[in-house]
């Protein structure tokens, strides 16, 4: 059957070729539409401020003002003040390390119990766990805020990472699905060798589950890097701001007038995500596949 399809494809003929050209034309047009905001972003970030505003627009900056990036990081000016982007970056990375470590450790443990241990109430609790994915964040936002406020944690990083050490439905689901594909015989063999359940988890399952764990790590990192509402609610002192919150504050305070510097700062926040994508395409695709499956 497949051969039949292939021969017909090969027989294509001139009509098919014309279609291919047409398709390329449409795809190219869409590519231009999808790329131009990003091109405009990088282009503006390398311009002199007067050139950034110039009409008709200049696409390729001349000269290339690489120092915009340095300026965006440490802009000393009487009016604009000092924007500690380096500090924001450090804060964001610290938070990301804490949330990624927490999510990987806690969700792996919990998913292991759901996937590979037999215990009373397991299936009921797992169903309940899946149901919690329906709860929108704004519903629980106020009581959780009140809780942290009573603990005196508002203004610290703690509200932004502590929760990650206690598991989350989506990651539990993702890891459970993966753990179930690992042959039970491996666990049984380890048990015969005298391994405890925790040793099986740590020495048999975890090393095999690296692909799934890296998906959890990646999406937790992205969640933290992209989060805005959390930092907006909990961070008060500008010194503790994350990159996202800092960029918003920067834009908000200065009305975006030095657009070249604002775009340089924006590029700095976007670039790591895109670079990460090129290094971890496989994990990205797996993560998307699971999100698509969730329903």
């Amino acid at each position: 059957m497949t051969t039949a399809v292939n021969t017909r494809r090969k027989k294509g003929g001139p009509g098919r070729q014309r279609n291919a050209w047409l398709l390329h034309l449409v795809l190219l047009a869409f590519s231009v539409l999808f790329l131009f905001p990003l091109v405009w972003l990088v282009s503006t970030s390398l311009k002199r401020s007067d050139q950034a505003m110039q009409m008709p627009p200049v696409w390729i900056p001349h000269p290339l003002e690489w120092h915009n990036y340095k300026d965006a990081f440490m802009y000393h000016h009487d009016v604009l003040g000092y924007i500690p982007f380096l500090q924001y970056g450090e804060n964001t990375v610290i938070l990301a390390v804490l949330t990624v470590a927490g999510a990987v450790c806690s969700n792996a443990l919990v998913a292991y119990a759901f996937a590979r241990l037999r215990w009373k109430g397991r299936d009921a609790i797992f169903a309940l766990t899946l149901a919690t994915m329906m709860v929108p964040f704004p519903v629980t936002m106020v009581p959780i805020y009140a809780l942290y406020k009573n603990l005196g944690w508002v203004g610290t990083f703690r509200p932004l990472w502590v929760g990650f050490w206690f598991g989350g439905a989506f990651n539990i689901f993702l890891l459970r699905q993966f753990f179930r594909t690992i042959p039970l015989e491996l666990s049984e063999a380890a048990k015969i060798d005298g391994c405890s359940e925790f040793e099986i988890f740590r020495m048999v399952i975890l090393p095999l589950a690296k692909p799934a764990l890296s998906v959890v790590a990646l999406f937790t990192f992205l969640g933290t890097w992209n989060d805005f509402l959390g930092p907006l609610i909990y961070l008060v002192n500008p010194k503790t701001f994350t990159l996202g919150l800092g960029l918003q504050a920067y834009q908000n305070q200065h009305g975006g007038t030095p657009w070249n510097l604002v775009m340089a700062a924006t590029t700095i926040v976007v670039a790591p995500v895109i670079v990460l994508f090129f290094f971890a395409q496989k994990q990205f695709i797996q993560g998307i596949a699971v999100t698509g499956l969730k329903g």
Binding site: M1, T2, L23, H24, V26, F30, S31, F34, F36, P37, L38, L41, T44, A52, M55, P57, L109, V110, A113, L117, R118, W119, K120, I125, T129, M134, P136, P138, V139, T140, M141, V142, P143, A146, K149, G163, F166, G167, E197, F198, F228, L229, I233, G244, L247, Q248, Q251, N252, G256, W259, V262, M263, V269, V270, I274, I285, I288, A289, T291, G292
Partner: protein
């Protein structure tokens, strides 16, 4: 101790982080939030029971209605556009065309841009005077206007003031969401690759053209994904916050971009009407649950699942 008891104990140790997480970050906040929704609560003082007052006030609150309607309109605008772009791109890429990987990357990468930089970037792109969209659009419109002068049209065609005209603010957000359709595109592309080839061959034998194949084979086979994305889209629209919050402070212009989650946030953290915010949260939750249940009912009845 029996074997199964020991296994249960070990298992409970493994799930204990989630049990604590569930109790502290879900069960407690959910019950506290439903209690607060019947209270006057400012977080600074203890909550005071007011019965149904918050819900009664919501029904009469014009701003609440505005934000709900805005959110619905935005969902109804952005969902079809986003779906059309995502499905259209996926179908073109599914044609086994040369350079597929490059095109796929180009369409996907914009969806990676995080909310805050996305909002800031598009503030610049949509800028009324120096924005790149209007810089390209205005000369085109000038040409059109001068061409129209032949038929007696004497006037100017002005490019939209995307950020300050209440009629264009929502369309601006729709354009931005379509730009981020790459993620959905990948999900549809995976769905398309699962469509069994024999279905197309049978359609070919029946002499079906491209349009008929799309309508009678491709879209029905994609319907579970379409339904899932549609429902998730409406639920997602209820939570849209970051981008309009940054681009349109206070839901400007003329509250046209004041969305549900923004009003909820303002009630909680600007006006410190936490009880009111919780009531809004529960209405959001109710809508979410109703939509999810409806999706399951609908999918049982209308959606075509391959193989079953």
């Amino acid at each position: 101790m029996s074997n199964s008891k020991r296994e249960t104990r070990t298992a409970l140790l493994f799930v204990s982080p989630w049990i604590i997480g569930f109790l502290v970050f879900l069960a407690y906040p959910l019950s506290a939030s439903i209690y607060y929704s019947f209270c006057n609560y400012s977080v600074l003082k203890a909550p005071v029971w007011v019965g149904m007052a918050n819900y009664r006030n919501l029904v009469q609150d014009d701003v609440f209605r505005t934000t709900l309607v805005n959110t619905l309109i935005y969902a109804l605008m952005s969902l079809p556009v986003g779906m059309a772009v995502a499905i259209g791109l996926a179908m073109m890429l599914n044609a086994k065309i040369k350079g597929q990987t490059i095109y796929r990357t180009i369409f996907y990468v914009p969806s990676l841009v995080p909310g805050v930089p996305l909002a800031v970037l598009w503030l610049w792109v949509f800028n009324g005077k120096q924005g790149i969209i209007n810089a390209v659009l205005q000369p085109l419109l000038d040409h059109v206007a001068s061409a129209l002068s032949i038929v007696g049209f004497h006037g100017h065609l002005n490019a939209p003031q995307w950020l300050s005209d209440a009629a264009w603010a929502k369309p601006a957000l729709v354009i931005m969401s379509a730009w981020g359709a790459g993620n959905a595109m990948l999900i549809y592309l995976a769905g398309l690759q699962d469509v069994p080839q024999p279905l197309y061959e049978a359609a070919d034998l029946d002499g079906a053209g491209w349009w008929s194949k799309t309508w009678n084979v491709t879209l029905p086979m994609l319907s579970p994904v379409i339904l899932f994305n549609g429902i998730m889209g409406i639920i997602g629209a209820l939570q849209v916050f970051t981008i309009p919050y940054i681009m349109f402070p206070g839901g400007s212009p003329a509250r046209s971009t004041y969305f549900y989650a923004m009003y909820l946030y303002d009630n909680a953290f600007v006006y410190l009407k936490m009880g009111y915010a919780c009531a809004m949260g529960w209405i959001m939750f109710a809508i979410t649950v109703i939509l999810t249940v409806a999706a399951h009912k609908l999918s049982d009845r209308y959606v075509h699942y391959g193989g079953s």
